[in-house]
């Protein structure tokens, strides 16, 4: 386990609202670390709609999810936030007044004065195929991610999906596997054309199999897969013997461990005080899509407002002895210095 990381505020979620929180906190001299389960910043903007236009960011008539993420990263640059990507927060504990401990699934420990949950719709996790009885195989012979390629050496593998993850792992694991079968529902792939060509060449050379269909049943014992049934378009079912299966159907949002931290919840959302965006636990805030209050709108612009008010309250926990004087970035030399423009 690494040394404890000490900071003022830990922000859970590096979507647009988490990113903007860095800005609002930064103006008040509050340092922040951000943790996100995705391996990139931007949250839903990056994962769900990087190329889709957003039309309701005040003052910006048109911007894509990717564009907004880039712009926010530029805006918060002066505050040098630290990012911990590809990590899931597993535990948040209140140790005392303005004192929290946050732990991640990568065994990182943070100690901070406040925590801001900006986790949107929860954490992005792999979609699980609805194959009856799949649960006992998960993490034993059905994997949604490849941690160590060596684990698949000499095995008979079934990879399912038609995107880049499925194709990349097909190309990477094919040389190691005893036999690899790629299963996809149609004979067209949305992955990079180069990967598609390489995969087709392997199939043509007889070095791997491609089956068009959907996996409908699994066979095995005590979590160890022995075969998968694949139903083709003509409804014929083919049985493929295998030792492991890797389904790649993209990601979906799940609430995740948030519900286990003792925060009062309301149907998977966190009720907050609309003056401070504090939860029932003092010093623990919830901003953006994950919170709820009368009139709540799940809009990025609402999350920005919430981040600003949260920061005002967080200031009192971080600097309890100081009085906060409200200032404008247009006129305050002190704020402009922080932004590196004065």
């Amino acid at each position: 386990m690494s040394d404890t990381i000490k900071t003022d505020v830990v922000i859970i979620g590096a979507g647009p609202v988490g990113l903007f929180a860095v800005f609002e906190l930064g103006l008040l001299d509050i340092k922040a670390h951000l943790i996100d389960i995705l391996d990139k910043v931007g949250g839903q903007c990056a994962e769900l709609y990087p190329e889709k236009p957003i039309y309701d960011i005040p003052g910006i008539p048109y911007i894509t999810g990717h564009g907004l993420t880039e712009a926010l990263m530029e805006q918060i640059k002066p505050f040098k936030p630290s990012f911990h990507l590809g990590e899931m927060v597993t535990k948040v504990e209140k140790l005392g007044e303005a004192q929290f401990r946050v732990a991640t699934d990568r065994d990182k420990i943070f100690e901070c004065k406040c925590v801001a949950i900006a986790a949107g719709g929860g954490s992005f996790q792999p979609k699980r195929p609805p194959i009856q009885g799949i649960e006992p195989y998960e993490e034993k012979s059905v994997f949604y991610a490849v941690r160590k390629m060596e684990n698949f050496r000499g095995k008979r593998l079934v990879i399912v999906g038609g995107g880049d993850s499925a194709l990349d792992w097909t190309l990477n694991l094919q040389p190691l596997a005893q036999r690899l079968t790629l299963v996809h529902r149609r004979d067209e792939f949305r992955g990079a054309p180069d990967s598609v060509n390489k995969m087709r060449a392997l199939v043509a050379a007889g070095d791997m199999d491609l089956k068009i269909g959907q996996v409908t049943a699994l066979e095995g014992d005590a979590g160890q897969l022995t075969a998968a049934s694949i139903k083709g378009k003509d409804n014929t079912v083919e049985r493929v013997e295998c030792d492991a299966m890797l389904p790649f159907f993209g990601l979906t949002m799940k609430l995740g461990p948030v519900a286990e931290w003792g925060i009062k919840m309301d149907d998977e959302l966190i009720p907050v005080d609309t003056g401070t965006f504090e939860t029932n636990i003092p010093g623990l805030f919830a901003i953006g899509d994950i919170n709820t209050y009368p009139g709540k709108l799940k809009l990025i612009l609402s999350g920005f407002h919430e981040a600003a008010l949260m920061s005002q309250k967080a200031y009192h926990y971080v600097y309890p002895e100081k009085k906060l004087v409200f200032q404008y970035t247009t006129s305050s030399t002190s704020l402009q210095k922080k932004l590196g423009v004065a």
Partner: protein, 123 residues
């Protein structure tokens, strides 16, 4: 002839509200009125129809609003675009008449449409 006209006249034009029938996986049937120009997904959410998640809010980026269009209606609704087809790759139990309901715009021609929701939308 007059019967057809009688039925069509009050419902024609921009105030027409096509009826859509959703059949949930457990057999629950909902027949609701849809606004022209809205989508089959939006209409489902508006009417609290189970089985439609619509995680991304209609962006054709999450495949959690899958429906199976009734065989009879599929030629009217039409096939998915390539963009939608790519998202269907990340859905489950996809059939020849599966569509993402956020990509089906409600038009007068869809009055009477029947769709079925799947048992699982990936979450």
């Amino acid at each position: 002839m007059s019967e057809v006209l009688d039925r069509a006249t009050p419902r024609a034009g921009k105030d027409m509200m096509p009826k859509i029938t959703y059949i949930e996986h457990d057999g629950t049937v909902h027949t609701v009125e849809a606004e022209l120009g809205s989508t089959v997904m939006e209409t489902a959410l508006k009417n609290d129809i189970g089985g439609i998640v619509a995680e991304c809010g209609g962006g054709c980026t999450c495949a959690t609003c899958l429906v199976h269009v009734d065989q009879k209606w599929f030629p009217v609704v039409g096939p998915p675009s390539e963009e939608e087809n790519q998202m269907l790759d990340t859905a489950f139990e996809v059939t020849e008449t599966s569509r993402l309901s956020c990509q089906i715009k409600v038009t007068e021609a869809l009055d009477g449409l029947v769709v079925r929701t799947p048992s699982y939308q990936g979450r």
